[in-house]
Chain length 399, copies 4
């Protein structure tokens, strides 16, 4: 990237865990990829002046602010990157798009389908004047996941026959682990389904190139009451004897019928003992299969049924060759990447889309569709696992 | 086993693939285990005198017969081992039990719940006079599967939280692979669900120590028409241009609610490209997990959440130590077993149960319960995946 | 196998652990393979009449005897199968061959090169009159190992570049595990090198199709003294306070130069904690590689450098298809075999060689060559790891 | 890291592949770790003004320079980071240390033992005035490798019994891959041995806590001639018909005797087809084992022989918990790191050592010792694999 490359000034709203990840993406992408625009980490926005100042110092943002509304009006801001909790996404994103700013919004797109729909409409209007919007399903940009999509798209597994996706963690296995806001429906919106199931849905659709049309699901809260932390009473992190009620799902299981008629099975669990961050997608085709696991993200399992029978089997591709997606920018062949590299790839792809005025994916319409799947799973679960159809706007499908 | 050990004379009805496996079990078990009775491979029964003679020669049965009814009346027969197709199980088993013969019946117990119920009733009556009946879910007797059950039963994974089971094969992935009787509902009764899903159900219940109470499922025939073999016209195995209709399921997906309230997810697929014989069961508990895969049957994955955090992880136990179930009878530590050893373990366990007059497991009641789960999945699938309760006789539960 | 197939009557000398394995091979092979001769388990020979009688009952031998010399003279014996300790192999094998009996001799061929040489000479003479001799390196006959050899021979990995072989066990890791005869050079001849290193040598040569020409090695006794069992004083298996001296190697490491100039590395260890029976061979070629591990014996790892770069990787071939070596005789695709199946394959191959009057492999000359490699490693180790050439008779090479 | 943290101004000499990696380390470490000094990427030094300017822009260095001698004299430079080829390390490092700059020097410390000795002497003198020197064996700082060392040091595998290390790549497998400077002894100094074998040596010594005392080795150039690139004649990267001579080793095999008497085996290969970047170390102890593989760097295999026998096996620890070395600074549990994170850990550890005036490891003395092992392997190989003792200064041992 030459010194003369035009800048792309970013304001990031929010500074939790995702703020660290997005910062690393903005900071690192231009050091490895030859970008058409130079991202600048201009303003970090948060409600507490002190906290946002500390975060900006740690992560390297030039300025801080506490009022996002004034920031999105600034002429010297080109991109608004939203990493706040889901309940504020809609308001910020719509305002930023209306103000002519490109918007990168962390997943889930919103806490409700209505909000997501309004955001998608705003994104469609903004797109007419070259303003871009993208939602942050970064696991698509793990090289092995992108390779899986490429192999499916190239017909290397033939016709898709069956789809499986699961996202399994185990941090709630212990019944004595305390209540957190993530277990309160009023604040978190959803449990395992929305938090990690959303990733499984997006990744399965991305790799398979297929969209879910209907679902039949069941949700379960496995441990219904948990110790309340005594924090509110000025005691640090000690579990009290009082217990709070968990109001979100710990486990979501659902079957999906894709538009092509293919069936898929999905699981999102926070009780999968020993599975720490296991997002797995396996697609079976008529002449092969691909299988991805986020816990082993530098590799992809590929089965090629067109090989001679005596040497058929799952091949563990170490996805670290320059020929693999995104990899050439990094290290010599055989050197691995980690979780955070997806955020650099996201920054790169978004910058390139802005520069070329091409709609980036996953679009807000993609995010809305995931939201609709989540809502349909909840409806189905509330209705005895009855099959529930995903609403679709024809307009969205085209995006 | 001393020369003076009393004999236990076996008649086996049927001589397909399962006949070879059961023969290997009867032939081998007394060579490695010190049995209280000496099994003798006395009579092999089949409809074609010529074919049964050839099979008897190959497998080492002393005599042959073509009429099973006369065989089960013989005073010198103690055990009737049924390896015919499922539609004849009920008639033979009930007759044999009524004739006072111990009965080992290959799975599925029968092709319908009614038949299975009649068989279970006959077994209950026979048990009163010390005549034993057992159904052949041999995968329970793979040492790693038995070890998994033992670890769960001993509380090593704590309270069971979630159950997953799948049985995946890929022999139908090719849409041009021809019709067989297994794809004809009239003859096979069921497709992937009954053939391999039954194993997943039994093994998940066995390892978890839990019984399924209700299910919500979906079935799919992925490839609806397949080439007819030209056999009927005297041509050997060549695919013709005519196509036949597949009338069974290729894929079964269902969620299960166990009696404890725990949820489970199940899959049976003949379209899982690259998965040759992958029967997997994973049980998550409050303090650990076990995961078994039949394609790697000498090992068990075990997660112990009570270990120090820095050394937690899934342990790949090579289940080949003398301390492991069944293993001491075979080879020195570290030497592996194969698929067929389950049949020797089945023979051993059945002989011991007969000798000790103890009800062997899986009992006919266990087989009936699996049959009821299968029937309920089919009902649910026909009823839009509505949750369907498994009928239970209180009497059966006790067996 | 038809009832009219001519018999092949076997006498087995010895009845330790290897006796059980060979018995299982003789018993099972004709039940699965269509053999040209029908093996009959005729006489089991051992020094103690009582012990040999018990073993014969357990394993199913028709008769017993205590004097091997008279047995090998019997007209009704066709094959002599030797599973005694190594120090008696030469005497028995040479006498049996001279008596016109086909001989299967368990590895190691002998305890010294001189003995092995005399046996090989006897085998060469016997071969002139159609009498066959074979040594029992059964791991060659694990289907995945045979497949590895086939792939190398077919040029699927190109030109061989580098060879690695190791056999690792851990049963001596505990310094308090007691003395056994296996740790006494006078009785065992050698330690890890001869016991398990011999397998690594044979298998590496077999798969690569290359012979070792020279070696540079080092041996180590890691724990020099171990508790003596109090057995001799009439106490059962209790460790005493006295300690005995270990006089064999616990660990052998050596480099080898093959006749082609290719280098190889070898390890034999009884102190490899956690490795129970890990015989691994990896051959790197100019266009691919194969890697075998006995602890996972139903699979073979294969790397094909001629595949498109983006899908290259090690393929885990589940070696359970009918197209794979030996597999079609057993179970349907995807059903696994175990350790003991190699002994059935050995019996089958030996019977076929006898029937077709074709020299079976590994021949006594092959066994002698392994013995020479072992001796050269010991010489090299005694001489500061100096490179030591393997003696070769031109005559032997041709066999 | 507060805004008031004192700066630590770095000058980096060299800008090849390692320059990118070190830059990423300096850039990222202060964003995740709370460092006592704030590293500033002040000056990048290279011979070509244009090339160094482009690299500085890409990586984010504030200034550039072409004369390293003047840079090391600057008062506003605190640290000199050397990532030039090995033949210039000694001159730069000694000058920088004499000028009172802390020095981080990429491995190998030098191209000869004499140079490394002089550097180590300079480092010892500098240390007296609080000036620190460290050599860049970054693989020590992969969390799983550090955890392995911690487990060994804590006695979790008991007494060390045996050590294995290998570093395997395959980029030379193709005999038609062209000559490069890395295959020319005059420029590269050494082949696989020095380039990747050095890492295997350092890591094995680090994890085991043991030092090599003597070696017996063999080196081989597998493909002796390779196509010359036509570059010199103004043609871009096309292979010519002329061939050049490879003057370095493609493969190094050696046995090592550690100071404790423990034996180890080592391999460095550029012909290991299918192994892309496979640095493996396995340490067997009296009560356990650890096994690390750089191709799967987020995990560690751990065997605990003190666990109950029925659940013993290798545990695959996903080294992504906050309790694991370095991990807490990064992402939530279960999120993986990549190759480059070792460079951030290196920057962190070096900054902390400078701040606390504690000798960082690996010290120059550690680098010198590795250099001596490499030289001894070359001597041994030239002398028929004769055992060759590693020289040791008592003074160095203490460092």
């Amino acid at each position: 990237m030459s010194r003369d490359t035009a800048p792309l000034r970013v304001a990031m709203i929010g500074h939790g865990f995702m703020g660290a990840a997005h910062s690393q993406g903005w900071r690192t992408a231009p050091r490895f990829f030859d970008l058409p625009l130079r991202p600048e980490m201009q303003v970090l926005v948060g409600r507490s002046a002190e906290a946002v100042r500390a975060a900006a110092d740690t992560w390297g943002w030039a300025e801080t602010a506490t009022d996002w509304r004034s920031v999105i009006e600034r002429d010297d801001i080109d991109v608004v990157d939203i990493v706040t909790p889901g309940d504020s996404h809609a308001e910020i994103a719509i305002a930023a798009l209306n103000a002519g700013k490109h918007v990168l919004c962390e997943k889930p797109l919103a806490n409700s389908v209505d909000e997501a729909k309004a955001m998608t409409d705003a994104a469609a209007r903004a797109a007419d004047s070259g303003v871009m919007a993208m939602v942050g399903f970064t696991y698509r940009r793990v090289p092995a996941a992108t390779l899986a999509r490429d192999l499916v798209a190239a017909g290397r597994i033939g016709e898709v026959r069956q789809i499986r996706a699961s996202y399994r963690q185990d941090w709630l296995s212990d019944a004595d682990s305390p209540m957190t806001w993530r277990l309160d429906k009023a604040r978190a919106g959803s449990g395992a389904l929305g938090d990690i199931g959303a990733h499984a849905i997006d990744l399965a659709q991305f790799i398979s190139g297929q969209r879910i049309a209907a679902v039949s699901g069941v949700l379960q809260t496995i441990v219904g009451e948990r110790p309340l932390l005594a924090e509110s009473r000025g005691l640090s992190g000690t579990a009290s004897t009082e217990r709070g009620t968990v109001t979100v799902d710990d486990l979501a299981l659902f079957s999906a019928r894709f538009e092509s008629g293919v069936l898929g099975s999905f699981e999102a669990s926070r009780f999968a003992s020993g599975r720490k961050n296991s997002l797995r997608v396996e697609i079976s085709g008529s002449t092969g299969a691909v299988a991805f696991d986020l816990e082993d993200l530098n590799s992809l399992q590929f089965f090629d049924a067109t090989a001679p029978i005596e040497t058929q089997g799952f091949t563990r591709i170490l996805v670290t060759e320059p020929e693999h997606p995104y990899v050439a920018a990094w290290w010599p062949a055989g050197h691995t990447l980690g979780y955070e590299h997806g955020f650099s790839h996201q920054a790169k792809d978004f910058v390139e889309a802005i520069s070329s005025k091409t709609q980036p994916r996953p679009s807000f319409a993609d995010g809305l569709q995931v939201q609709r799947v989540l809502a349909s799973v909840e409806s189905s679960a509330a209705d005895g696992s009855a099959w529930t159809t995903i609403d679709t706007d024809q307009k969205e499908v085209r995006s």
